[in-house]
């Protein structure tokens, strides 16, 4: 109850932080999709590259988020972006790579070889097989990867407040500093709500994007 009162009382402030949060996540996942999906497709052609890329993405995933933000500071300071939204976005892009690349790679690889054979036998070029057959068939699994990346980024994005990227994490850290329970709860509740709503919206988009023929 206290939490709700807090949110309502600080309405404009909450909205501003939520917007900041959403913006960082959206930019990061957007970049991650436009890099991860092509990388995922590319490595299906090259076994060795696949092993290396998936290994690296796996290692990044194991670095604790707070440590990754920490690592970003000295590296990006060189370019004058040590703290703020830039390191937050860079970190989220890196985290999102693994689910997106791995799902893209697995989904494209798992398309039944006889279906690809049919496409090639009928005179499709390699690119046409990819565009018209493999990617549409892999779409739901690729999308599942994107959803994982988004939900995860919303959660990790809360920690980005620590390096001055703003967002709903701000409430959590401020609340801890001030032992203000309602503030902590407000931050946590808003982050969770954002994750749930985004996942739901992405579910709807996925339904639109994936062919009816692939639904079971």
């Amino acid at each position: 109850m206290e939490t709700l009162t807090f949110i309502i009382k600080h309405g404009p402030e909450t909205l501003k932080l939520a917007w900041q949060h959403a913006w960082v996540v959206a930019v990061a996942v957007g970049i991650a999709i436009f890099t991860g999906v092509p990388i995922g497709i590319w490595i299906t052609f090259n076994r060795r590259a696949a092993d290396i890329v998936l290994y690296i993405a796996g290692i990044i995933m194991t670095v604790p988020s707070i440590a990754l933000f920490g690592i970003m500071i000295p590296i990006l300071s060189v370019f004058g972006y040590g703290i703020g939204t830039v390191p937050a976005i860079v970190a989220l892009v890196l985290y999102s790579q693994l689910p997106i690349i791995r799902n893209t790679y697995a989904a494209i690889k798992n398309v039944d070889p006889s279906i690809i054979d049919a496409g090639i036998g009928m005179g499709m070029t390699r690119g046409q097989v990819l565009r018209k057959v493999q990617v549409p068939m892999a779409m739901s699994v690729i999308f599942a990867g994107v959803r994982v990346a988004v939900v995860m980024s919303i959660g990790i994005g809360a920690i980005a407040a620590y390096i001055g990227a703003g967002g709903l994490g701000h409430y959590i850290f401020m609340g801890i500093n001030q032992t203000h329970d309602a503030m902590i709860n407000a931050g946590a509740l808003c982050v969770a709500l954002m994750a749930i709503i985004t996942d739901y919206v992405f579910g709807i988009i996925e339904n639109r994007l994936v062919s009816k023929g692939l639904r079971s």
């Binding site: 039944d112 006889s114 049919a118 496409g119 036998g121 692939l214």
Partner: protein, 384 residues
């Protein structure tokens, strides 16, 4: 027409050729079956024809043009291709699947829509019902039909089919085979058809090429392989029951006695009885004056009867068509315990009689005119 000259395939890293020096000619409009046990090279041979597998040496010509000199993509778009696992694209509707090649060739929408309806009608699937279905909403037989239909979509003169009816239950397979033969009779495509099922080969093939360890062992008509196997391998392959397999091949017309003795509905019973006693017949077929088949009379029915045969005739409900194969006819005879079965055409005109004895002798190729137990129903036309 497809011409293969000394075609060889050696996979990298192996010394044994997968296909060894094969010469083959498939005449235009015929179905050529490639058959053999697994690993004999039949699929490899077929896949070299649209260069899904590179040719090691030798030449393959389609309609006089070497496939090596043709543009790879154009070559494949010009050849219908159907495979065993059907290979329908699950994310595309039936209509989208069928028009894959037409779309690649740049047909306009109207032409593609018309083609979809035409082809669905051809394989007995109602276009309005099936056009927008997805493959997962089709039964196995329907999906298989769409697979074959898709290969025919751009009306290619040549089609390659790799066990297109392989993944389907025997009953549906028969139906699909019959349907396909009917379509082929109209369209006259040049077809290379891979199978490992000798029954299918005998039924579908105009010619059969039997391969073993990459070599072409025998190439000829199904009749050739069954009656004149070149060596023990061919004999073993076609099986000890090869005489039975001829049942698939031969038509009722080939084994029936044409123009059997008969009487007419307007004949007088007394005269016919007299005639039957004189010729030791106890059974006689009956037609109308125009030769429309009506049934039969036997000698006991005629005794003491005064009037016309038409008053006595008993119908025969089980008949066969002259163009049916002998397997179906024999199956009917066994099912209904018939010694003879009458062959009538679509207009119900009497064409001939098939009896079990002549059937056996024709299949066994020891044809015997006398015809055994039912031998009295022999040729010779009307009794009086």
């Amino acid at each position: 027409m497809i011409n293969l000259e000394r075609v060889t395939k050696i996979y990298p890293g192996t010394s044994m050729p997968a296909v060894d020096n094969v010469d083959l000619e498939v005449p235009r409009g015929e179905i050529c079956i490639l058959i053999g046990s697994s690993g004999c090279g039949k699929t490899t041979l077929m896949r070299m024809m649209n260069r899904l597998i590179p040719i090691t040496s030798g030449t393959i010509k389609i309609e006089g043009k070497s496939v090596m000199e043709m543009d790879l993509i154009e070559l494949r778009r010009g050849i219908g291709y159907a495979i065993q696992q059907i290979g329908l694209f699950p994310h595309m509707t039936v209509a989208e699947n069928i028009t894959v090649v037409p779309k690649l060739l740049g047909w306009d929408k109207k032409r593609m829509d018309e083609r979809v309806d035409e082809l669905l009608t051809l394989v007995n699937l109602e276009p309005a019902v099936y056009r927008n279905r997805y493959p997962r909403e089709l039964s196995g037989g329907q999906a298989q039909r769409i697979g074959v239909t898709r290969a025919m979509a751009a009306d290619p003169p040549v089609m390659l089919m790799d066990e297109p009816f392989g993944a389907i239950d025997p009953i549906n397979r028969e139906v699909l085979q019959d349907e396909f033969l009917k379509i082929q009779a109209k369209l006259k495509k040049t077809i290379v058809f891979v199978t490992h099922d000798i029954h299918e080969a005998v039924k579908m093939g105009d010619r059969i090429a039997l391969l073993d360890a990459g070599r072409l062992i025998q190439y000829g008509s199904p009749e050739d392989l069954l009656t004149r196997p070149k060596n023990q391998f061919v004999k073993d392959f076609v099986g000890a029951d090869r005489a039975l397999k001829r049942l698939d091949l031969l038509k009722v017309r080939d084994a029936m006695l044409k123009d059997p003795v008969r009487c007419r509905t307007d004949d007088s019973s007394e005269k016919i009885l007299e005639h039957m006693l004189a010729h030791d017949l106890n059974f006689l077929l009956v037609t109308e004056p125009g030769n429309v088949f009506r049934g039969y009379v036997n000698i006991d029915m005629l005794r003491g009867h005064k009037g016309r045969i038409g008053d006595l005739v008993r119908p025969m409900t089980i008949t066969v068509r002259p163009e049916q194969n002998l397997k179906d006819a024999l199956s009917k005879m066994l099912t209904y315990d018939l010694g003879i079965v009458v062959a009538v055409n679509e207009e119900e005109l009497l064409e001939g009689v098939l009896n079990s004895r002549t059937l056996v002798s024709v299949v066994g190729e020891t044809y015997d005119e006398s015809g055994g137990h039912w031998g009295k129903i022999t040729t010779g036309g009307r009794v009086i």
